[in-house]
């Protein structure tokens, strides 16, 4: 056996160029398929993370709520229920939500919006909303103030491009300033920025009676910090709901659609607004690892009392699941084409090798080598050609993708604006999920097996005399 492998390996190198070229093709195929999958999964993961960030992995609801999403189908926010859920395997966090609609208004401007009552601390654990509160806002007034300090024409011009922008942290501010200005001006600009563009948003305290608005909504309603928001709606069992609330902060939400119509309230204040007493519309559950969602769901469903139900994010967001599946299918089609092309090229190389060694094969069988053994040699040659390329491809793609996952490629121009519009950071996302990697060599192996059918057939049909003389 060792002999066979040795001969097969050496045969590979009889025509170095050809073997290398074929291996390169396989290498390219594997890397491209890996990068493509990585990119797809990168976006999917980000989208899923965003969804889970807002809706959690699982939601516990009143069993009638899903069919009829009204505040009347709420559930009681009791300690017993919360601890029951919390005790389920893999559940890492339970936080309450009271969601309903309301008419928001600021004098002349009104809009139908979504109110989300949240627990000040637990919600933060869920999705870090406090980190997404706007801390710097570059309004016209800010720019005017900076102008008065005479920092220089160049700086003023560059700053103009930042009008209307806002940032949630020192780091984001600095990053954007760095992009726009060179080292010398950076310090100066940063100092000015920090002096004038600070925005006093802050997160909720317990029983806070302020509201936090999606930034886009605040812009539409022309509301600023400490302005008053009027909310009108229908509460529990039709009771009137109305109230005035000061704006405590503006927040950036990954989904721009939500950002245009979301108002956060502290949960107790919210329960008061809607007169629900101790009732909420859902209990949002976070699972320690996304992959354990189903398991946790099963555990929950087994324990929940009558009248309650639990749904995974896949059940509450079927469109997104559907879209991801559809996108995956498209990806399979494209990768399929790449692989078939690679397969053909391996095939053509093997066929060329077979053709040029007909006589040699004839002699080997003549002197006494069984056809089976000869087939094994060719099998290993075929296998090696596929393997070399894919092993190198794997070795190259694993570190590459891991690097890209943590250092995504930033995007420019229209594409960037579009992504931000959709609520994503304007970068090319990558994932280094193990799934991406172990498929590739498997596919190459299957192709090798299929390709190998042809050499076997040729060897079987080999007529020694024709081979030697022909």
């Amino acid at each position: 056996m060792k002999d066979i492998v040795k001969i097969a390996w050496r045969n590979l190198w009889r025509n170095k160029t050809r073997t290398v070229i074929t291996a390169v093709v396989v290498f390219i195929g594997v890397i491209l398929a890996a990068v493509m999958s990585s990119q797809q999964y990168g976006i999917y993961d980000t989208m899923i993370d965003n969804v889970i960030g807002f809706s959690g992995n699982i939601q516990v609801l009143n069993e009638d709520y899903w069919e009829n999403k009204t505040i009347n189908n709420s559930l009681e926010y009791s300690d017993s229920l919360t601890s029951l859920i919390g005790a389920t395997d893999h559940v890492s966090l339970v936080t309450p939500r009271l969601e309903s609609f309301a008419l928001a208004s600021n004098g002349d401007i009104t809009k139908g919006i979504l109110v989300a009552g949240i627990d000040a601390e637990k919600e933060d654990e869920l999705n870090n909303y406090s980190q997404k509160i706007v801390r710097f806002k570059i309004t016209e007034e800010v720019l005017e103030n900076i102008q008065r300090e005479n920092p220089g024409k160049e700086i003023i011009q560059s700053l103009a491009s930042l009008k209307g922008r806002s940032f949630i942290s020192d780091e984001r501010l600095e990053a954007n300033i760095e992009d726009l200005f060179d080292k010398k001006q950076e310090e100066k600009v940063l100092a000015l920025m920090k002096k004038y563009s600070r925005y006093p948003g802050s997160k909720f305290e317990k029983n806070d009676n302020g509201v936090i608005l999606g930034e886009r909504l605040a812009e539409y309603l022309q509301l600023d910090i400490n302005d008053t928001l009027v909310l009108i709606s229908q509460g529990y069992h039709g009771v009137s709901a109305a109230g005035l609330y000061p704006v405590k902060g503006l927040v950036k939400i990954p989904s721009p659609d939500l950002e245009r119509r979301l108002v956060y309230m502290e949960i107790n204040t919210c329960m008061e607004f809607y007169s629900t007493e101790n009732r909420v519309t859902s209990l949002v559950v976070k699972v320690d690892r996304n992959s354990k969602t189903m398991k946790a769901l099963e555990g929950l469903k087994a324990k929940l009392p009558e009248g309650y139900t639990a749904m995974s994010w896949q059940e509450t967001q079927p469109e997104m699941v559907n879209m991801i599946e559809g996108d995956k299918a498209g990806g399979y089609f494209m990768k399929g084409i790449f692989y078939i092309i690679v397969g053909f090229i391996i095939f053509s190389t093997i066929m060329m090798m077979m053709a040029e060694r007909k006589r040699e094969f004839g002699i080997m069988i003549a002197v006494g080598m069984q056809k089976l053994r000869l087939s094994l040699i060719v099998f290993f040659e075929t296998l090696f050609i596929g393997i070399i390329g894919s092993v190198f491809g794997l070795l190259a793609s694993i570190p590459l993708l891991s690097f890209l996952k943590h250092n995504p490629i930033p995007l420019q121009g229209d594409m960037a604006k579009m992504m931000e519009d959709f609520g994503f950071e304007a970068v090319l996302y990558f994932s280094n999920n193990a799934d991406i990697f172990y498929w590739q060599p498997l596919i190459i192996f299957i192709m090798v097996m299929i390709i190998f059918i042809f050499p076997i057939y040729i060897i079987r049909k080999l007529k020694i005399m024709n081979a030697i003389r022909g």
Binding site: R10, N11, W13, I363, M364, G368, I468
Partner: protein, 227 residues
């Protein structure tokens, strides 16, 4: 002792619609230790005859009995095995596996037979020494001259201790000196070890060295002279 017995051998094949009687009733036998040359013009049936003696082709009629076994009707698998253990081949060219060294090429046969590493090593050394190439053991064929390659082929052909060696135009691509060398070696092996050599050849030098010359024409033996 009769190594090969050929009785009433016929081979007919289809030559574009017309049946061709390549071998048309041949009776021959060979004893152990013979050094014979089969000659005949192109189209005489010489090649066809030798193919059948070597088990590379099957007769339409008649028997070829090698050391008691009728090889004319063996199945493919059995035939390959038979050749491995009983017949040595030296072809005109391309005898050796290009990716193996001289040593490995000779060992190759014994590997196929399943002999132990010790046995293989020992015999390979002996054989290569016998053909005068023990100093070129680790060279690949592309580093050896034509004559040297043929000598390795001879060593390889003997590796399995075959009943006889079939040499098909072994000197056709060689210059005079190499031919002489090769023939001398084969002659020595024949005399010292009593190994049977059967040549198919056009080469006068080979015919000169042979102790029995069989002439084939139109599928029949027309003369069979022992010197």
């Amino acid at each position: 002792m009769r190594v090969i017995e050929i009785k009433n051998l016929h081979k007919v094949y289809d030559g574009a619609g017309v049946p061709v009687h390549a071998v048309n009733g041949i009776d021959l036998s060979f004893e152990q230790g013979e050094f014979a040359a089969i000659v005949g013009p192109s189209g005489s049936g010489k090649t066809t005859l030798l193919n059948m003696v070597g088990g590379l082709d099957q007769p339409t009629e008649g028997e070829i009995i090698v050391d008691g076994t009728d090889i004319g009707h063996l199945k493919s698998r059995e035939m390959i095995n038979f050749r491995l253990n009983n017949i040595g081949f030296v072809f005109q060219a391309y005898n050796l596996i290009p990716v193996l060294t001289a040593k490995e090429n000779v060992e190759f046969i014994m590997h196929l037979q399943g002999r132990s590493k010790h046995d293989r090593n020992q015999r390979t050394k002996e054989l290569l020494a016998a053909v005068g190439l023990d100093d070129r053991m680790n060279s690949r064929p592309n580093k050896l001259s034509g004559g040297q390659q043929q000598r390795v082929a001879v060593a390889r052909a003997l590796a399995s201790k075959p009943k006889f060696v079939l040499a098909d135009e072994p000197t056709a691509n060689l210059d005079t000196k190499s031919t002489e060398n090769l023939l001398d070696i084969m002659e020595k092996l024949n005399k010292d070890e009593n190994i049977t050599f059967i040549f198919s050849t056009h080469d006068a030098r080979v015919v000169a060295k042979a102790r029995r010359v069989i002439t084939i024409e139109d599928g029949k033996v027309v003369s069979d002279k022992i010197k």
